[in-house]
Amino acid sequence: MRNSTSAFSIAATAASLLLLAPAASAATESKELEALHEQIRLLDQKIRVLERKQELAAEASAEAAKKQPAVAAGAGGFSLASSDKAYELKLRALAQADARFYLGDDGIAGNDQFLLRRVRAILTGTLGKNFEFALVPEFGGIDAASKASTFSVVDAWVAAKAHPALGVKFGKFISPVALEPGSDRLFVESSFVNTLLPNRDLGLELDGTLAGGLLEYRAGIYNGVRNNTSSVGGDLNDTKTFAGRVTVTPFAKTESFAKGLGVALGASSGSENGTIQNIVTNGQQTLASFGSLSGAGDHTRFSPAAFLYSGPYSFIAEYAQERHRLVRTAAPLNRFTATNDAWRVSSGYVLTGEDSTARSVTPKTNFDPAAGTWGAFEVVGRISGLHLDRRLFAPAANGGGGLSATTNATGATAYGLGLNWYLNRNVRFLLNYEYTDFDGGGAANTAVADAEQALFNRLQVSF
């Protein structure tokens, strides 16, 4: 009986277990599933947090990088700038190595030569967004007498611009009178026009653009400088010179062929005394030396110009006239006003089709013989003329200047041709031939003994 009861108990227990087992197992599984879900949720959160922290770290790095100064190097030079560009320092350079040869000049010794025409380090920058400066030392100057190298400061100025229409500049910089002071976009050397106009002067200038940039003006007060020279550190007299320039580019905002058309007028008025700069040919030889004549008062200049840069074509026309009160420093002490004028017409065509601009030609392909590319080529031509006041050459006894009309020329007409090769944005080679026919002159052993034939070559590196 006991056995049967036990057996019954065991059987009942077993039956109960069999009946309950699935329910217990389901509860356990549900709990395990819940725990697994929670584990997955927590893991998911951990991963999300890690990813977010990485994202925030990347954002912080990017933010910090924005505040780092930017260093750049390229065809345009080298620069160092604060993250907001409010402070920037740019280093550029210009080097011109020339080879000059004068054909058929038997009487003149020592003018065929290699020379470093310009060697400049160009340091420019921005201070606090609205202030700019430039410092340009020249290492390539040559003393005319000794031929020794000289050092000078070509440009040194500070400018402030609070509005496009009004800025102010102080220091030494290019004079506003000439279209291209001290340089020529197409040729190795400037034309006669620049021999009657100032190059760089020291003073205070207002400048700006109006009508949305279609009109540009410059107006200022300067020490006053001899023609075709740069002002030195100070002035030679107390009087000052007023000068200015207005340039209008009426179609600059259009896409027509006339987009690069402009007209300009530069002028100056002042009282300038002292030595008068010799006038040189386009080949940089002395055309007229003013000897015993000296500046003695009013000096006015004006120079209208027109230019067009359209596609591969360029065209520039410029005229200059100066009126300067002069005095003979040797007896008789005649005083008179000399009126000299000069003009030029220049043109260029880029054979390889690139656009010609007032600054340069940027070749579509750089010089790379291995790749079969050669850069850009431009042919250029120029006709220019000079006429000096006949009173300069009138006998002193008749109230004139008494200059020799045989050792000096009284005028000249020059015809120039050239080929410019732009190897890349930074390197160019210029080959010019210029024939200059003189009025007057003819004295032996002078540059004006016979027509001048100048063959000029230049290798220029700039960045």
């Binding site: 959160q45 999300r48 947090v49 990813e51 977010r52 922290k53 509005h163 009004l166 000052k240």
Partner: protein, 331 residues
């Protein structure tokens, strides 16, 4: 004589150019969650200013953590106006950088706060962690999202609201310190601003609860839908008074004082208050406040003055280098 003529001409030219300048640009340096508010307000003010003066005013915005923004202005960011999260972030502009006078807060009504806000909780739909009050934020396993009080004004309001609650329920300042320390143990990631924390919670799916500006919480509901999130209103919070100020040195240098002053005053106008209400800020003008009263929950609000003695002492005690927040967060 020639010099006189030249100078006269130059002066006339300068005067003509100045008189002709009709375009004005302002920079409003603001805190993180005001993007939508000022996007709408700037348009309204520009139209108002054009109609009143004929001038075109363009307002540029800069947004970020309020403390971070204040430091940027001190470091030279040329803000014509600042519209920051708390007065404690504008005070250093006066005391450290001398960009505006010390009494700047008295120059506009309501302590220069044209609108107010408070701190609420944003939780996921269904409130799975059953979060109803500050007490629930220190429970183990609850993940709390709040920005960094060192860089964010909103985070400082969050912190002080929690402190005020704990001071009442956990035995004064000592208990509050432990409570807030426990709360920050549950914070897995510190963003630099309130908008960053919203991104962390809403878009990255991190955390169980976001301590949020009231306007930011409403905006999240509006943008992401009430089927994703819920707002939980705690039993106690803090009255946040985001102030505004003209930055005197900048506007005097730029010549923009008149328009900058008008810009801030327009925040108190009928239209300005209406825009604030529409963007879930509590308007200060009675009419607009009444109009929008229904959209804001009623709850007990403590003030920074009554609870902490003002921003200067709160900043010094809690958020300065080495103060309470540094002590509890370093642990």
């Amino acid at each position: 004589m020639k010099l006189y003529r030249l100078l006269s001409t130059a002066a006339l030219l300068a005067a003509a150019f100045t008189a002709a300048a009709k375009d004005v640009q302002l920079l409003n340096v603001s805190y993180d969650p005001t993007r939508e508010l000022y996007a709408e307000f700037n348009q309204a003010f520009a139209a108002h200013w054009k109609a009143q003066t004929g001038d075109t005013v363009t307002i540029k915005q800069s947004h970020g953590g309020s403390g971070k923004q204040a430091r940027s202005v001190i470091d030279g960011l040329p803000a014509d106006v600042v519209t920051l999260a708390l007065a404690g972030d504008i005070d250093p502009l006066a005391s450290v950088a001398k960009l505006l006078p010390a009494d700047w807060q008295k120059r506009l009504p309501n302590n220069s706060a044209p609108y107010t806000s408070t701190i609420v909780f944003l939780v996921r739909k269904g409130n799975p962690q059953k979060i109803h009050d500050w007490e629930d934020l220190v429970k183990p396993g609850v993940s709390v999202i709040t920005p960094n009080p060192k860089t964010s004004g909103g985070a400082r309001w969050n912190y002080l609201a929690a402190w005020a609650y704990a001071r009442r329920h956990h035995g004064g300042d000592e208990g509050a310190k432990k409570f807030v320390a426990a709360l920050f143990k549950n914070v897995p990631v510190l963003d630099s601003g309130a908008r960053g924390s919203t991104t962390t919670f809403v878009q990255r799916g991190i955390g169980d609860v976001l301590l949020a500006w009231e306007n930011e919480a409403f905006l999240a509901l509006k943008e992401f839908g009430a089927d994703s999130f819920e707002i939980v209103v705690p039993s106690l919070s803090i009255l946040a008074e985001p102030p505004v100020a003209v930055v005197d040195k900048v506007v005097d240098r730029k010549g923009t004082r008149a328009v900058a002053q008008a810009y801030l005053e327009y925040l108190y106008s009928e239209e300005g208050q209406e825009i604030a209400g529409r963007n879930f800020y509590r308007p200060s003008a009675p009419a607009a406040a009444a109009k929008y009263a229904k959209q804001f929950p009623r709850l007990e609000l403590v003030t920074i003055e009554s609870e902490f003695g003002g921003w200067t002492s709160a900043q010094k005690a809690h958020f300065a280098d080495g103060a309470v927040f540094d002590q509890i967060y370093a642990k």
